[in-house]
């Protein structure tokens, strides 16, 4: 209850903070439009495949929905906590936070939540715009699936956040923790379903990917949002939960170790 109130107020204030940056926020949203280029690409590919009798899986509208969903998932699960932590550790700004009876994790989380709230209206407008421009991209209206998709989105955000928080903890040991996170981004690009729906991948790659945390960051929530029930959803949820637990434990461990180092080196 106490934490909820703290979180609510932190989020509210952060929301106000983000509204101070309306213009930048809009640019940030626009800078994530890469999926739209891919949407065009794959719609074309789908059309070509449809012309050829062998390619039964080709469905341009499916790509339209999928990549719009990818865009939304990426916007909603965007995380930059590693830059904040790195900056705070290097510049000593973590110190005043350590003197308050609240783990700084919650501050970083609230900062993301507040920003996300401020981003939502732009996203809604942009989505409606795409629905209008590319009618085939409209998601099927199934109210029953919405809460499932929303829960999956929230879980994807949390997993991405905790994963990056783990890498951020390396800032206690190296000044360039984000370089390590950049490496993981490569895996993210190929295994998350960001470039193409995962079911188009060769079976072995697909099978391998489902055991990594990446498909749960993009592919699974995007498919749900776009109106498909991806095969193996139940197992996916379990794998996702396992990764979440693992990264949470790792983050806790690194936080404790890192703090000891921070306070030995000069806070």
């Amino acid at each position: 209850m106490r934490l909820l109130r703290q979180l609510r107020i932190l989020t509210g204030v952060q929301y106000a903070y983000m509204l101070e940056y309306r213009a930048e926020l809009y640019l940030w949203v626009l800078s994530g439009v890469m999926p739209f280029f891919l949407m065009g690409l794959w719609m074309e590919a789908g059309r070509l495949a449809a012309a050829a009798p062998a390619a039964a899986l080709a469905d341009p509208a499916r790509f339209a929905r999928y990549f719009l969903a990818v865009f939304l998932v990426r916007q909603i699960t965007l995380v930059w906590v590693i830059y904040d932590v790195e900056d705070d550790v290097v510049k000593g700004r973590l110190s005043p936070q350590l003197l308050q009876p609240l783990n700084p994790f919650w501050r970083y989380l609230a900062s993301h939540l507040g920003e996300r709230l401020a981003r939502l209206p732009f996203l809604a407008i942009l989505t409606l715009g795409v629905f209008w421009l590319v009618p085939t991209s409209r998601f099927p209206w199934e109210p029953a699936r919405l809460p499932v998709a929303a829960a999956m989105l929230a879980a994807a955000f949390l997993l991405r956040f905790v994963m990056q928080y783990c890498f951020a903890m390396l800032a206690f040991w190296t000044e360039r923790a984000n370089a390590i996170d950049d490496l993981s981004f490569l895996l993210y690009l190929f295994l998350s379903g960001f470039l193409a729906p995962l079911d188009l991948f060769p079976a072995t790659v697909r099978e391998f990917a489902t055991w990594t945390p990446f498909p749960y960051l993009v592919y699974l929530p995007a498919e749900l949002l776009a109106g498909a029930i991806p095969p193996g959803l139940g197992r996916g949820c379990l794998v996702m939960a396992a990764w979440l637990a693992l990264f949470t434990a790792l983050a806790l461990l690194l936080w404790r170790r890192g703090l000891r180092r921070y306070s030995a080196m000069g806070a």
Binding site: R2, I9, E20, S95, L98, L99, S263
Partner: protein, 330 residues
């Protein structure tokens, strides 16, 4: 038991040293060489509840490092510290609720939002109910003379107003142990005085214990009956401000205005001559020889006027810290 008890506290930083140049960079990469830098050396003191203690020393003397160990940000290399019965480094919530650390050169307020928003966060973190937080905010704003400035974005406040707002935010949870590192840094004379008045009022009203560092002697003189002098990491004095004069400056300045031109050679036997100009001269005379010297001067010279003054504290401290001579001059 004293509220703050520090025993043989030491902190040594390990820093990597690297010579410039490619070859040294490579060597540094494969085999690091380290150097131990002692920041605080075997410091012991005790502070009773309700005391205001000034912590003096030149830059790099170890003041901030000591404050960071007392607030739990730094782990000591050796020795122990107890604050209100807590071991600071464990940073238990019960401890954090009782202390605050204000650093003049660092800020915790959110730059682009009004102070009130930062205060709401602090109130939530310290679990203050909204009416109670509002009451405390009003009370502290009144003491600080902040008025309606709390609704203005922090970036639009003057330096003095910002410092006051920082103090308000740092004291909203009403800590009874205040660690203040240069709280008046960069403020003009009026703003400095306002912060001093506030700290005195806070100490009186809530019986708070205050340990503060400052480069401004006026802060120390106005607030601190007791001072700790730290030099190169070691504590070299613990006592009253007057005691510093007695211990480190057992001399006084005698200014003479003569009827005739002053002659250096004639005055020199009476003390250390610091200035001769026309009919005026200044002598530094050891305290115990003062009466006798003045009597002899009055007998030997036709004196129109003379004054005896204590050397300024700044002068004494600068002298101690500059040449490291902790022993009184002969």
């Amino acid at each position: 038991m004293p509220l703050i008890q520090v025993d043989h506290l030491s902190k040594t930083y390990r820093t990597a040293i690297k010579a410039p140049g490619w070859r040294n960079t490579l060597r540094h990469f494969f085999r690091r060489t380290w150097r131990d830098v002692p920041a605080v050396r075997d410091v012991s003191f005790a502070i009773e509840s309700g005391e205001i203690v000034g912590f003096l020393g030149p830059n790099g003397a170890g003041k901030t490092t000591t404050l960071k160990m007392l607030t739990g940000l730094l782990f000591p290399t050796a020795g122990t510290a107890q604050v209100a019965g807590f071991t600071p480094f464990r940073r238990q919530h019960g401890f954090l609720r009782r202390i605050t650390l204000v650093m003049g050169q660092k800020q915790q307020l959110i730059w682009d939002l009004p102070t009130l928003d930062s205060l709401r966060i602090n109130a939530a973190i310290y679990e203050l109910a909204e009416p109670e937080a509002a009451r405390r905010t009003a009370e502290l704003a009144e003491l600080l003379g902040l008025g309606d400035k709390l609704k203005v974005p922090v970036r639009k406040l003057s330096l003095g107003e910002r410092m006051k707002a920082e103090l308000l935010a740092a004291l909203l949870h009403r800590p009874d142990i205040l660690f203040l590192d240069e709280p008046t840094l960069g403020l003009d004379v009026n703003a400095q005085a306002a912060v001093r008045d506030f700290l005195r009022a806070y100490n009186r009203q809530y019986g708070a214990t205050i340990l503060l560092t400052s480069h401004y002697m006026a802060d120390i003189q106005a607030l601190c009956p007791r001072v700790l002098l730290i030099h190169e990491g070691a504590l070299c004095y613990d006592g009253s401000l007057d005691g510093i004069r007695r211990r480190f400056a057992p001399w006084r300045e005698v200014k003479l205005e003569l009827e005739h031109e002053a002659v250096a050679a004639e005055l020199r036997p009476y003390g250390e001559l610091s200035r001769v100009e026309g009919r005026t001269a200044e002598l530094i005379v050891r305290r115990e020889a003062l009466t006798e010297t003045v009597t002899r001067l009055l007998e030997a010279f036709a004196i129109r006027d003379f004054t005896i003054t204590d050397p300024a504290l700044e002068t004494i401290l600068a002298r101690i810290f500059a040449d490291g001579s902790l022993n009184p001059p002969k």
